[in-house]
Symmetry: D4
Subunit: 224 residues, 8 copies
């Protein structure tokens, strides 16, 4: 069987689950709901899990109508179509966010991590302006296996979290903020130059990418 399904407007990579451990994920932004449905259909024929990210309400509505059991995660702007959820791996991915406005990005990370077969703990609105909110959850933070830290504005939270734990910290800058934030640039530069050793960074607003990386780490930890 050829490892590609040619839909004319897209070459669906059906070899990816084999190579990468999870099927191709559909990035809905910039595609019509119909295109998304066609790619989803091609994937669903072969795979147990379909994940669609950056899905607007229109994408969500059409996909739900076409696929029984499809779920639209509104805040996360994701759709999941699962024949049967993957069994959960050992270990926990903590998704920590600095502010209320970072929720869409944090939820994209949480939904992605979950559908990829991981246990997820959410810890939201614990930014550094009130350290006691963060430190109140010290045990949860310390026992997580991988930490995804989502923050906009100056993006200081990953540095503080990384100072507290020995586990991998993946920082996600968000475009939340205004003025000198320059659409997430301030948070991005802040995280890249973090004084916290071992912090790695993904693109602005890329909750999906952070969860994907966290899941790869946990998969390794379960399979090594």
């Amino acid at each position: 069987m050829a490892p590609v399904v040619d839909l004319g407007f897209a070459n669906v990579d059906t070899h990816r689950a084999l190579r990468k451990g999870f099927p191709e994920v559909i990035f809905a932004s910039g595609k019509t709901p119909e295109q998304v449905v066609k790619i989803a259909a091609a994937l669903r024929k072969r795979e147990g899990q379909v994940l669609i990210t950056r899905a607007g309400p229109d994408h969500g509505r059409l996909v739900k109508r076409r696929f029984k059991g499809a779920v639209y995660h509104e805040t996360a702007r994701c759709v999941t179509i699962q024949k049967k959820p993957l069994p959960k791996r050992e270990g926990i991915i903590a998704v920590i966010s600095a502010g209320t406005s970072d929720l869409p990005v944090a939820e994209e990370a949480a939904v992605t991590a979950d559908v990829m077969g991981n246990r997820v703990e959410r810890l939201y609105d614990v930014g550094v302006a009130g350290l006691h909110r963060l430190l109140a959850h010290y045990t949860q933070i310390e026992t997580a296996s991988v930490l995804i830290v989502v923050a906009g504005m100056e993006g200081a939270l990953p540095s503080v979290v990384a100072g507290l734990v020995r586990r991998p910290v993946i920082a996600v800058p968000t475009s939340i903020g205004y003025g000198a934030n320059f659409h997430g640039l301030a948070a991005l530069l802040g995280m890249l130059t973090s004084c916290g050793s071992g912090v790695t960074v993904v693109n602005i607003d890329n909750g999906f990418g952070a969860a994907y990386a966290a899941s790869q780490i946990l998969a390794l930890a379960n399979e090594l």
Copy 2:
């Protein structure tokens, strides 16, 4: 007496002490040691305090040779010539720095605040990568009247400090760091977009400006 001394290459503003509460300060960078000495002489004839910032060793050497009692503060790159130190105001200016490499900027702030008649407390190398180093000094931080917080890299320290205190926090980004730091831009943007309410910011590496503002605040508090 005319409020300006025309030296040909410079118009020394001898009216400034009256207007601003402290005599004109000499920015040595880009001036020859001789030029600095001439401006210093014009000021010293009229003023009790002369402050020279961004003074290299050459400036330091010549000024010390010409003016008895001149002191060269090496780390701070400042020279002070004081007929008699100003009496100290009530209240304390805390100068807090994130790392060892921020010392020149922090010392420029400390020396400036001191010569302008303020009590200064130094708290160095207490960055957010090890929060316990900062929190160990909680009382000192909480009782300061004004806080100058100096940090390079991602510049997260002012946000954390501002979360702990009710007093004015002046953030100084430094050019310490490399790569995506872009010569202090990361720290600058981080501080401008800080989630800590009431943080104000000065130019990159501008320890002098931060101390000047802090001194103005303390002067107001003593004179209101």
Copy 3:
């Protein structure tokens, strides 16, 4: 009583008035009117003053409907809910703006300073293109305790004002302008590199932050 109220989507920091001298302020932008109302309710149960910034007409309308005595400040895009106004501190905060288009930012500063318990004087549309407009108000400028200077375009006004007074000047760049203004970047860089000693700067359009800092300064001056 726990110092945090967990609303699910937000961790309201009810400890902040104690730590910072004023309750948590609600940044409405990016939150639904319902979310804003819920946070406001949690705060109002405990605090005498509630301040909501960046509130659009929708936020304004719903908050006014739910809370008796709520006031929507249209130009400032703020809502205030005051059980009883705070007594006014000694000293005056002057809010000075360069042009008519800077009004929303200047008013955000003025409303914030007022609700935090300060006397405010407004001095609008006195940019440097007609110096006589500014100099006509010299006495008012000279006797202010703290000066908030709001300007877009090239942001030259804070430098000129700082040259005239001995009191703290807080500069607020606005995004007013076009072309090489780059959404406030020109004014921001201009203010950061101001030749006026002691000027500190807040984020573009951040009238709230400037007033918060000014209020902290006046609080210190009243409490020292």
Copy 4:
């Protein structure tokens, strides 16, 4: 025993090994050889492993003279002082570089990963201009546990590598290149926007940070 050693110019964080799993690492750039030696002495008294990064020849020479067994890794610009090497963890960290000029960054990663107790495989000068050089090492690439991919110029290598493997890929942009490379910015932006799912990124030229993160991942995998 207090968790900090105060050297006057530095607050050595002796609590870090406990918290982070590895002692504080000395960033030599911007410190004098004497300062580096003093911090190294404070650490060595308590720890089995001392790592100094960004060490110039001067730092290297003095440290080697003072500490028996110190090794200066010239290309990596690192010094290691090991009482006894840590036992090697299970799993392999592959360090892959695109070009010959990326060697200093790649070696910094390799030396760091090694001293932190990991097995390291080096795969250098296999950039995408000649894909066969990369594909010739397919088995090595596929069996690595974590992959550090170092590249300058357009930074395309991590995308290609991430397309081939299911394990975590950490991308390190280098400042190699000229013109529109803008000191590593092109590679940095390229890696952040990589189409390869799960790629995380560290600061430009930050081989140390990539290895630190990789080691944390492998530690988790060994300890879960």
Copy 5:
């Protein structure tokens, strides 16, 4: 006959076909449908081929109504009015795109190359995240005379393609992506600093320009 038709709002350059080998092309964006029709009429009177780029549906509709035989290429946002198609030159222009979202730019290139008298082969959605999709078309790629490679995000595809072929590669960055992509800047810088020798680059989203250059190359090859 004067080589310019003055329409008041535009100076149509009717000398261009002579000088450049193809008539002036109408850039519709920023012009009203009526203006476009007037320029098209002036050109059609003299030329066999009229090409309109960046044409929205409104432009498309009006032009089709006015000119018999006009074709609106929706994805490409182009209109063509051909009295008789030009005979096809020897050689093939391959248009290769990395992702589905790059289609509008790729189609602009393909339509332009076609109307200018070239044979075009399309190869879409073959980005480097799944190299096998690209390598499956190795023969097609190797036998093309000129290759236009269209990619957004990190823009790595031209480097990989250029490593495989001896023919000219013209890279077109697209504005596809988000965050650190900065509207195509990441792809643009990546392509300019490509390690693939001989890659030349056109403006972001400029499929037209790439095809124009490719056609000039093939014209030379047919006429030398």
Copy 6:
């Protein structure tokens, strides 16, 4: 006589005095002293005035040795070789500078304006931090025909000067400053977005260009 002298490494445009009213000017930076001398010789054979800008001491020394009457203006980094000075035009060009460090740029403007046949008045170190220094010269400023205003840092001086006069103001940003000045960018953006109507701007540090434009204006005023 051909309007070009081909020196192999340079095509000296001997037609320029005719077309532009002043002979080609030699930009010495990046040329060897020998190259400068050769171009100067070619010009001097035909022209009464030779102007060399951005001349280092080496250029200055060699040109003075070779051409009798050549003058090296050290601060301005210019060399002039005049057979006979041009007669002075009616009207005055005022060169106004904000600070002492702007002198090299201001002097480049003054020397250029002088050699091109204009009366020049210098007004230095009158920045906006002390408005009285500027206003003291109000009559001189008001009676100038054209004003060249040179400023670094935030570049506020042209806005203030333009508010006072009805004559053309040409603003020259200088690279003086540090940090957020970004090598003159802050001053440049500030001048471009100046609220002073009619301010035009030249490149950073381009004193020559400002004087050239001012001289063209005065020439027009004398010739109309």
Copy 7:
């Protein structure tokens, strides 16, 4: 009579005609039609000429309804209210534009220059892609007193024009273009670094500013 009319939201500078030679000009963007009308009324009471720039259709409609004889210049987005047109000065201001899309900016310049009492000649769509279109108007170009050159994209036209004439050239970059144009930045940087001596530059899309400067030049030429 006080030189300022305080409208509450604006301080109308009625002293400006005296100081600058032309009354204050109203920048309508960001003001409501009612605000514009009020300022216009205050000015019209005292001045013979009122100019409103950046006026949208709403501003235009209301102003025309309120003031008899008001003219809305649609392409230029300007409104003029003239009691009696100013007598025309000697000399000609040529407004030259590169492309059809630059018309709004060119027309803003032309209308401004006209209302300020100057003769204007328009020369549109003569960009460097077809040099013969420009050279066909050589006499017109050569005899103009001042030249305003408007161009988007790469902004090359001012360099070419400046190479042909001895009169002042004022360059106006426009935001026309896409991709690497970055909203006029490409044209702006190009004009600032122009190899044409004596070119001065105004802000992106600032046709008004260019005409204001040109008018000042011509006024000087008529009054010297």
Copy 8:
């Protein structure tokens, strides 16, 4: 024979001549003279042509000492080692430069094109500030097969040249200029947004890349 020679520090790609039509080229910058010699030796054993770019005098000296017949092209900073020059292809590559300071980049292009087997014509110092210098060479320009146009500052020359010819124009921005040139950024953006159809662009100062592309074009034209 394996298509790679592993030198430890470099993987020499000996398959490249087969794939790309010319052997791997050595980029000397950042390599020691010894490293360059070793790679050159590995290549020379298999290939008739060795080209080393960005070679400093040290590289030049050592390579000349080791390889008989090696030539160091000083201005171009290239070394060539040719067993026997390649036969010249039909057609001409014109290398056109705007100014004297662009010579090193123009010569890098010329030497590269020559060693790759092409006829080269040089046309230097013909920038747009004096159009007659360019137009004097109209025939040469019009008859060239491919045109490499090298320019710094505002980079306007490629637009003008592209307006005159029907053949491919490859634009090379140089870092020549100062201030708002930002190390070649102005020229780069100008060329990318050129109004001249069909202009393609290479990296700043990348004369080599332009010549490589030009040679590929001429090779196609000779082989199709």
